[in-house]
């Protein structure tokens, strides 16, 4: 659903007394000021402060007495780059993203394509139902899934063993902990992108599918030549947002595994939280936050460049 962007320039070209215009400008500032003040004070300033903090060695000694603060330039960043725990967190985060983004987009797209079919009944009900996990509280559902993934009493392992497959120590084995958390994450978020894809799919005219069918194209060919091009711009937007949010996974490892087993689920944000709030190395933690930001920015730019090349958008 798009909103037509009315041309703003045409309105307000009539003559009016300057007093009215001045009053209007003052009113505009009054409307905007509180939000701008809040954004400036509680967002912009902390971000700049974080950049500055990352250039100091703010730690527990500095917390006690600010005289103990030292400006150390890029030392925090250097230390991070040589810290194996940090690289472990990066590797885990990348694993989450590389596995999770395609998985969640595929799940959302599949669900959207299925729901979009004309033969499906009661579509509005399914739509809302599939979206419901997205609005549930993350911590609460993480707790539920922690029990579903329980090695001995979890329903998932019960299902596996009923089918003759071996039970998996989902959250206790470092090699399955990431897939286990991903199962939960995909369950929770697939409805969001599904709705977006569904909305776009419903704008694709039926005659395009009709024409393809007449040309002899089967369902898969129709998907590739009619559906995919239609959703390409949306796909780009969705994947950019998905990558950014997968890079910011925190609550899931915090609630389900506390970063374990054997640090296999420590994400960059979890590492930052521990560095900042467990050890009070605020300088180092701020450096982590900036590195995270730069990573997300870099990957976003790469995605945009790739999309431009592929022609998905101008």
């Amino acid at each position: 659903m798009t909103v037509a962007d009315p041309t703003l320039t045409k309105a307000g070209t009539r003559d009016r007394p300057s007093r009215g215009r001045g009053a209007r400008e003052r009113a505009a500032w009054a409307f905007v000021a509180p939000a701008m003040l809040a954004i400036g004070l509680f967002f912009a300033i902390p971000v700049i402060a974080a950049l500055l903090l990352s250039l100091t060695d703010f730690d527990i000694y500095a917390l006690a007495n600010l005289d103990n603060l030292r400006f150390v330039g890029l030392q925090n960043y250097e230390r991070l780059l040589t810290n194996p725990l940090f690289w472990g967190a990066m590797k885990n985060t990348l694993t989450f993203a590389v596995l999770g983004v395609p998985l969640s987009i595929a799940a959302s797209l599949a669900a959207a394509v299925i729901l979009n079919a004309r033969v499906v009944k009661w579509r509005p009900i399914w739509r809302v139902m599939f979206f419901a996990p997205y609005v549930t509280t993350l911590v609460a559902t993480a707790v539920v899934w922690r029990y579903l993934l329980h090695t001995r009493y979890g329903v998932i392992n019960w299902g596996l063993t009923s089918l003759g497959l071996p039970a998996v120590d989902w959250l206790g084995d470092p090699s399955t902990s990431i897939p286990a958390i991903l199962m939960f994450v995909v369950w929770k978020i697939f409805g969001y992108n599904m709705l977006i894809f569904l909305a776009v799919l419903q704008t694709v005219p039926d005659d395009l599918y009709e024409a393809a069918r007449i040309d002899g194209a089967g369902p898969w060919k129709q998907f590739r030549h009619v559906t995919l091009p239609a959703i390409a711009p949306t796909m780009l937007l969705v994947s950019i947002i998905s990558v950014a949010s997968f890079f910011q996974l925190f609550a899931e490892p915090y609630v389900m595994t506390q970063g374990g087993p054997a640090q296999s689920t420590v994400t960059v944000l979890y590492f930052m939280y521990e560095e900042g709030f467990k050890w009070w190395n605020l300088g180092s933690a701020s450096a982590v936050a900036f590195v995270l930001f730069l990573c997300i920015l870099a990957i976003t730019l790469v995605q945009l460049a790739v999309a431009k090349r592929v022609g998905a958008y101008q």
Binding site: M1, T2, V3, A4, P6, L8, A11, G12, G20, R24, E25, A27, A28, W29, F31, V32, P34, A35, A38, I39, F42, F43, I45, P46, V47, A50, I114, A117, V119, V120, W126, R127, V128, M129, F130, A132, P133, V135, T136, T137, L138, V139, A140, T141, V143, Y147, L148, Y153, G154, V155, W158, L195, Q248, F250, G276, F277, S286, A289, F293, I296
Partner: protein, 271 residues
């Protein structure tokens, strides 16, 4: 074709099963007796329905307090966020003022920056203001909602300028125009944004975890995370806690889902 219809509907039913099962299981276990869920094979339905965990939560674990904290904070966040962002969003859309474009570009750039960067300095700043462990401290991030501003602005762009001009010619001041003409027109997006903020505040975890240090101030997610580390074995009680946390927002969402979905699509789908 009939087969296709059956298969598709079956697929839908399967997805529905996967989607609903954890939630239904959560409710079901919350009514089971202690220790019943930790057996193999895991039961799906309580043998005997009991309210003991809900009673335990509210009488012994202070759940009522956390529920109140979550509700109060979410309500205040909604009111404050609307108060701050609706006028600003309208002004960005419809009122020309010096520096509007520059400011808007800055906001677009700010969208890329993840909020967690400022978390630590913001904590130190609020400590200086004495707002740690207070409601006010927990509400601060909701005042600076760039996303909300964009949402309102996007919607407000569709207000016909002629309507505003007519009111101005009639001699109305900007404040009156805002109250009498703009607000009623913006009503759908106000409901949507209010819903976003309420749900967002209710579900928020990292910031309340950091800023609310006293147990009596915990919101439901923070209390639940803390309980889950202490009572790892107590499945049934944890499920009851999860139900108390999830049920209010789920019900709110189901009641107002039209507004939520419409707002969500308006923000994300570009032509």
């Amino acid at each position: 074709m009939k087969i296709r219809a059956i298969l598709l509907n079956l697929a839908v039913a399967l997805i529905a099963l996967v989607v609903l099962f954890p939630l239904v299981w959560m409710v079901s276990v919350s009514f089971m007796a202690t220790g019943e869920a930790a057996t193999f094979p895991p039961p799906l339905w309580p043998k005997v329905w009991t309210l003991e965990h809900y009673r335990d939560l509210f009488l012994n674990q202070g759940m009522g307090r956390y529920l109140w904290n979550s509700f109060a904070l979410a309500t205040l966040a909604t009111i404050l966020a609307l108060g701050f962002t609706v006028p600003a969003g309208y002004a960005f859309a419809k009122l020309k003022f010096k520096g509007r474009e520059r400011l808007f570009q800055f906001l677009v750039a700010a969208l890329v920056v993840p909020a967690q960067i400022g978390t630590l300095p913001l904590f130190l700043m609020l400590k200086g203001m004495g707002l740690v462990n207070t409601y006010a401290g927990a509400l601060v991030p909701w005042l600076a909602s760039i996303f909300g501003l964009f949402l309102v602005r996007q919607y407000a762009l569709s207000i016909p300028d002629e309507m505003l001009e007519a009111a101005r010619i009639d001699g109305a001041g900007e404040g009156q125009i805002f109250r009498r003409v703009v607000l009623p027109t913006l009503q759908p997006i106000i409901v949507t944004l209010g819903l976003f903020v309420f749900l967002g505040s209710w579900n928020d975890f990292l910031w309340p975890l950091i800023i609310l240090t006293d147990q009596s101030n915990y919101t439901l997610p923070v209390a639940l995370a803390s309980l889950s580390r202490e009572h790892v074995q107590d499945v049934e009680m944890m499920m009851a806690g999860a139900v108390v946390t999830v049920a209010p927002v789920l019900i709110l969402f189901l009641a107002l889902q039209r507004y939520y979905i419409r707002g969500m699509l308006a923000g994300s789908v570009k032509g």
